[in-house]
Every structure is written in structure tokens, then in C-alpha cells.
């Protein structure tokens, strides 16, 4: 029994070591972001060396940004574009994928296997292979540099079909039968039973799609050309490469500004995001 306190002490020490290690790592993750905040609130000349706590904190970078026209950088328009495009794409994906998942999980129609094969096929297509033809397709349709070009390609989202298919398969048949006896049609069953029951999975799909589209870079870079049709992610690239490559205060402020919607989404939907990503490793 005399070893008991010693063992407890050793265990506590190990736990402390683990906590310290994890905390140091966490500090390394957060430090660059704190530095970014500090730089964004520093006067332009001191942004680079300002460090975590700017000596002369200022809102000047943000006021220059917010006034758009003065800096030649239409940030509000870019932000609006990004939010509009991401919202539209995620709503479309939620509707299209939950309809398809319901159709595949609960109805037997001719060509069901073929549709399955199509979904499978679109999972293995690398996006780089479709990028150039997609660009030329939208060029032929005269849709480049429009919201259509920024939104539509994301609607072919096979991941969501599978995610919701998995979910809908597990919905008890009895629920559906009761509704059928009441004379409900298929569309009504989808809307009144499967959409509410699947709401957590559909919401997860929505937030993941929003994040992907908001943060996407390659497609909006090639699909838009005019300053006013850029999304905020492409806007940063345009800004950082051209005019403001040396104005670090403005560049860091723009970076902070661009991240605000995703930080808000993270705060409110973190649980959904984490749940959705956790699922990717555990299925199968």
C-alpha cells in the first residue's frame, strides 16, 4: 500500500506532461492567428514587425478597406458575392441531394442501378480533369463571370447523396407506411418525414458545402474575370499579388475580414462541422 501515493503522484505528473505538450501545440496553432490580428490593427508601416500587441493600434486598415472605392478593392461586393454563392450552392445541394437520396433509398425505379453507378463515377473524377472543359462549357453558354458560373458546378455533389442515403436507409418503414395510409404522396413523405428526420445530416451537409464553396479558390479564379464578380478568396489573391503586395497592414486586414463569416460559422456550427468530418473516417 505504501506505493499507492507514489503511483498517484506519477500518474498526475504524466497527465501534467500530456497537458503541457497539448497546450504548447495549441499555442503554436493560435499564435499565427493572434499575430494576424495584431498586424491587421497596426499602422501599415509597422504591420510586419508590430507583433502580437501593436504599439499604436489603429482601425485605419479596416476603414480604408470598408470605404472600398478609396482602396480600389470592393470588399463588400466580394463578401456579398461569397455569401450569396455559398448560400445558394448549399441550399441547392441540400435539396437536390436529399431528393436523390430519398429516391435511391426508398423507391424502386427503372435505372436505379445506373444512377448508383453515376454517383459512384462522379466520386472518382479528379476536379482538375473537369476544370478546363467546365470553363469552356460555361464560355460556350456565355455564362462565365456570372453567379451562374460560380454556383452551378457545385450542385453535382455526390458526397451528399451518399451521406443522406446512409441516413435515410435507417428511417423506420412504419413512419412511411402510416403517412401512405393517410394518402400522402411521395413528395409529401419526403418533405414531412424524411427532411425533418434527416435534418441533422442535411444541416451537416449544408455547413460542409458552405465552407467548401466559400473557401474554394481554383474555380472562382478561372470562372470570373471582372473585379466585381470576384469572390472574397480570389479577391485576396488579386490584392496580394497586385497593388498591395507591400502594404501588409491592408493585406492582413483583408485576410481577417474575409475570415469573419467562417469564424462565425465555426462558433455556431462547430459541433455539426466536427460531427460531419468525424463521419468521413468512420463509415464503411
Amino acid at each position: 500500500m505504501t506505493t499507492q501515493p507514489g503511483r498517484t503522484w506519477r500518474r498526475a505528473r504524466k497527465r501534467l506532461a500530456v497537458t503541457v505538450a497539448v497546450s504548447v501545440g495549441a499555442a503554436a496553432m493560435v499564435l499565427p492567428l493572434l499575430w494576424l490580428l495584431g498586424a491587421a490593427f497596426s499602422p501599415s508601416q509597422q504591420a510586419l514587425t508590430g507583433g502580437l500587441l501593436p504599439g499604436h493600434p489603429t482601425l485605419k486598415n479596416f476603414s480604408v478597406l470598408a470605404s472600398g472605392s478609396a482602396s480600389g478593392v470592393p470588399v463588400w461586393r466580394w463578401l456579398l458575392n461569397s455569401i450569396l454563392v455559398s448560400t445558394a450552392a448549399s441550399v441547392l445541394v441540400m435539396v437536390i441531394d436529399s431528393l436523390a437520396a430519398y429516391g435511391l433509398a426508398r423507391t424502386r425505379f427503372p435505372g436505379r442501378r445506373l444512377v448508383f453507378a453515376l454517383v459512384m463515377a462522379s466520386l472518382v473524377v479528379p476536379f482538375i480533369a473537369t476544370l478546363i472543359p467546365l470553363y469552356l462549357e460555361f464560355d460556350n453558354l456565355r455564362l462565365l463571370d456570372s453567379y451562374g458560373a460560380l454556383i452551378l458546378p457545385y450542385t453535382a455533389n455526390a458526397f451528399g447523396v451518399f451521406l443522406l442515403f446512409q441516413f435515410f436507409r435507417q428511417v423506420p418503414v412504419e413512419l412511411e407506411q402510416a403517412a401512405k395510409l393517410d394518402g400522402a404522396g411521395r413528395l409529401r413523405i419526403w418533405w414531412r418525414i424524411f427532411v425533418p428526420i434527416g435534418a441533422p445530416a442535411i444541416a451537416t451537409l449544408g455547413i460542409l458545402t458552405f465552407m467548401n464553396v466559400y473557401n474554394d479558390f481554383f474555380w472562382p479564379l478561372v470562372a470570373t474575370s471582372s473585379l466585381n464578380m470576384r469572390t472574397i478568396t480570389v479577391g485576396i489573391a488579386v490584392t496580394s499579388i497586385s497593388t498591395y503586395s507591400t502594404d501588409y497592414g491592408l493585406l492582413t486586414a483583408l485576410t481577417v475580414f474575409s475570415a469573419i463569416p467562417m469564424v462565425i460559422a465555426f462558433i455556431f456550427a462547430q459541433r455539426r462541422l466536427v460531427a460531419g468530418i468525424s463521419m468521413t473516417g468512420l463509415q464503411g
Binding site: 497527465r15 462522379s122 479558390f217 489573391a237
Partner: protein, 329 residues
């Protein structure tokens, strides 16, 4: 890299599909019998079901199926970005990539080499670092809090990450040089440029893999590690003997996701190094982008993209075969 989560989805869904299909097929008739006694299930054709999948099929056809077919057609032609079709050339834009003395071949394989250098560093790092951290977080107090902290950078866009680290890695007065009291030309000399690109990428995306691996650890019965502790196995031994073997299937997913994302590396070098110094950080996607959107050679750019897609598919299937074989043992 911004398609990271999409890539994750692809992997997960492939696995889900493999598991779900036969089960779904078998479950149907039983249900049918319950609803309509006496009628052979499956014989009844529900054309209505087709209406439900129609929007998806249309989206797939327009934005995935058609571009693949159209892309192949384009790759068989000299196709100028502005003028359009300039004549059929057969497979020559593919075969030129395998003849050593052509300029596109030289650039393509140089870009391939650059991409593989990045992949060789980032994929092991994006597996090992999250694996260790997930285990430490699992043992630490407040795992939910730490998981959120490590995950946080993942929600930023590739361009936000690129511009942040461009500033941090600045040679003159940059924060990284200041922090370590050195004077390294991080983004304009090798091998530092690769180290900087890998560091920024690992910092950005490790939280994504950590979340997946942490979820894998929590699937284990809690008693597993307690039993190991009673057996006198230390925490480090338990990591190698229990945690890692149990994370095998999750590790495969993480490695495949990291491989796909790393092969598609674009935004970080585009913003941080501009493909330099020289063209030493010009990756495959950058080379294809230049070919198609700077030189306006759409046909040969598409051919290069198809070859790249085939090579990526090959690498990923090798990973699957190895992963699945080791799994069975």
C-alpha cells in the same frame, strides 16, 4: 487544397457505397412484401422515384459527365482559349508528354517531380502529427476544447492561409525570422521554400485529420486503455500497440485524403512563392493552369490534366491495396 473536404467526402462515400449497396438491395424486397402483400416486390416500377433523382442526374450530366467527355474531345484537338478548335491532332498531346525532348513534357515532369516532393513531406506529416496529437488530446483533460483549437485553422480559406504565411515568412522583418532570430529567405530559396509551404499546409489542415483520428480513438471501448495500463504498458507503448493498430482503417482514409489534396496543391505556391525560386515550386496544377489559362493551350492542358488524374488514381489505388492488405493480417 480547398477541395479537401470534398476529397474527404469522396473517400468516405466510396467506402460507404461499397458497404451499403448489397445491404440496400437485400433490404428492399422485405419491405415491399410488408406494404403490398401478394405482389412480387421489385416488379412494381415506380417511375416516381426517377423524378426524385432527376435533379441530381441533370446536375451530374451537366457539370461532371459532360465535361469529362467534352474534355477528352478537346484533348484531341489544338484548342486555343480564344479562337477555339484549331484542328484534330489525335492523341499527340498525350504522347508528346512521353517524349523527352518537347517543352511541355519537360515542364510537366518537372512539375510532377515538384509535386511529389511536396507529397512526400506533407502526407507523412499529415498522418503522423495528427495521430500523435489525437492520442495526446484523448489523454488530456478538456479534449473537446483542444480539438476545437487545433481544428480552427481549417475553416480558413487557402488564400487567407497563403497570404498570412506569406507575411509571416517575409525575409525582411518577418515574424518567423524574428521568432527564431534567424535571417532565412524562406520563400525565395530552396529547400526553405518547400519547408515553408509544407509548414503552412500542415498548420492549416492537420486539424481536419485530427478530428477524424480522434473520432477513431473514441470508437475504442474506454476499457481498452485501462486494461493496458493495468498490464503495466506505458502510455507510449499503448499508442503503438493499441491506438495505431486500431486506427488502421481511419489512417487509410486520412492518407488517401492527404494524398489527393497534396497532389492538387495550387493556392499556397500560387500565393506564397509564385512557383519559384525559378520554377522549383511550380506544381502540376500550376503547370496545367499556365498551359491552359496563360498560354491558352486548352487541348494540351486538358490532356495533361487527364494524365495527372490517371496517375493520382493509380497512387490512391496502390494506397488502398496496401492499406487493405495490411488490414486483413
Amino acid at each position: 487544397m480547398s477541395r479537401l473536404a470534398l476529397a474527404a467526402g469522396r473517400v468516405a462515400a466510396q467506402r460507404a457505397a461499397a458497404a451499403a449497396r448489397p445491404v440496400g438491395g437485400r433490404a428492399r424486397p422485405a419491405r415491399g412484401r410488408g406494404v403490398r402483400p401478394g405482389r412480387r416486390p421489385g416488379r412494381r416500377r415506380e417511375w416516381g422515384g426517377l423524378l426524385f433523382v432527376l435533379p441530381y442526374v441533370a446536375a451530374f450530366a451537366a457539370f461532371a459527365g459532360f465535361p469529362i467527355g467534352y474534355g477528352f474531345y478537346i484533348s484531341l484537338h489544338h484548342w486555343n482559349g480564344i479562337v477555339g478548335d484549331q484542328g484534330f491532332v489525335g492523341l499527340s498531346q498525350y504522347t508528346q508528354l512521353f517524349r523527352a525532348n518537347t517543352l511541355p513534357a519537360h515542364d510537366f515532369w518537372a512539375a510532377m517531380r515538384n509535386t511529389l516532393i511536396f507529397v512526400a513531406i506533407s502526407v507523412p506529416a499529415l498522418w503522423a502529427i495528427p495521430a500523435v496529437l489525437a492520442y495526446l488530446i484523448y489523454l488530456a483533460p478538456a479534449p473537446g476544447f483542444f480539438r476545437s483549437v487545433y481544428f480552427f485553422p481549417t475553416v480558413f480559406s487557402a488564400t487567407a492561409v497563403g497570404s498570412l504565411w506569406t507575411v509571416l515568412f517575409a525575409t525582411q522583418g518577418g515574424a518567423v525570422n524574428g521568432f527564431f532570430h534567424v535571417n532565412v529567405a524562406w520563400l525565395t530559396s530552396q529547400p526553405w521554400a518547400w519547408i515553408a509551404l509544407d509548414a503552412a499546409t500542415v498548420w492549416w489542415t492537420l486539424g481536419f485529420n485530427l478530428v477524424i483520428m480522434y473520432a477513431g480513438l473514441t470508437q475504442l471501448p474506454g476499457a481498452t486503455f485501462e486494461a493496458a495500463a493495468i498490464d503495466g504498458a506505458g502510455k507510449i507503448r499503448a499508442f503503438f500497440k493499441i491506438a495505431l493498430p486500431q486506427l488502421r482503417s481511419v489512417s487509410l482514409v486520412v492518407i488517401v485524403i492527404a494524398t489527393i489534396a497534396s497532389f492538387n496543391l495550387f493556392a499556397q505556391p500560387y500565393l506564397m512563392t509564385g512557383g519559384g525560386p525559378g520554377s522549383s515550386t511550380t506544381t502540376l496544377t500550376m503547370d496545367i493552369y499556365n498551359q491552359a489559362f496563360s498560354l491558352l493551350h486548352m487541348g494540351s492542358g486538358t490532356a495533361m490534366a487527364f494524365i495527372m488524374g490517371a496517375i493520382l488514381a493509380l497512387v490512391v489505388s496502390v494506397e488502398y491495396v496496401f492499406g487493405a492488405r495490411r488490414w486483413r493480417q
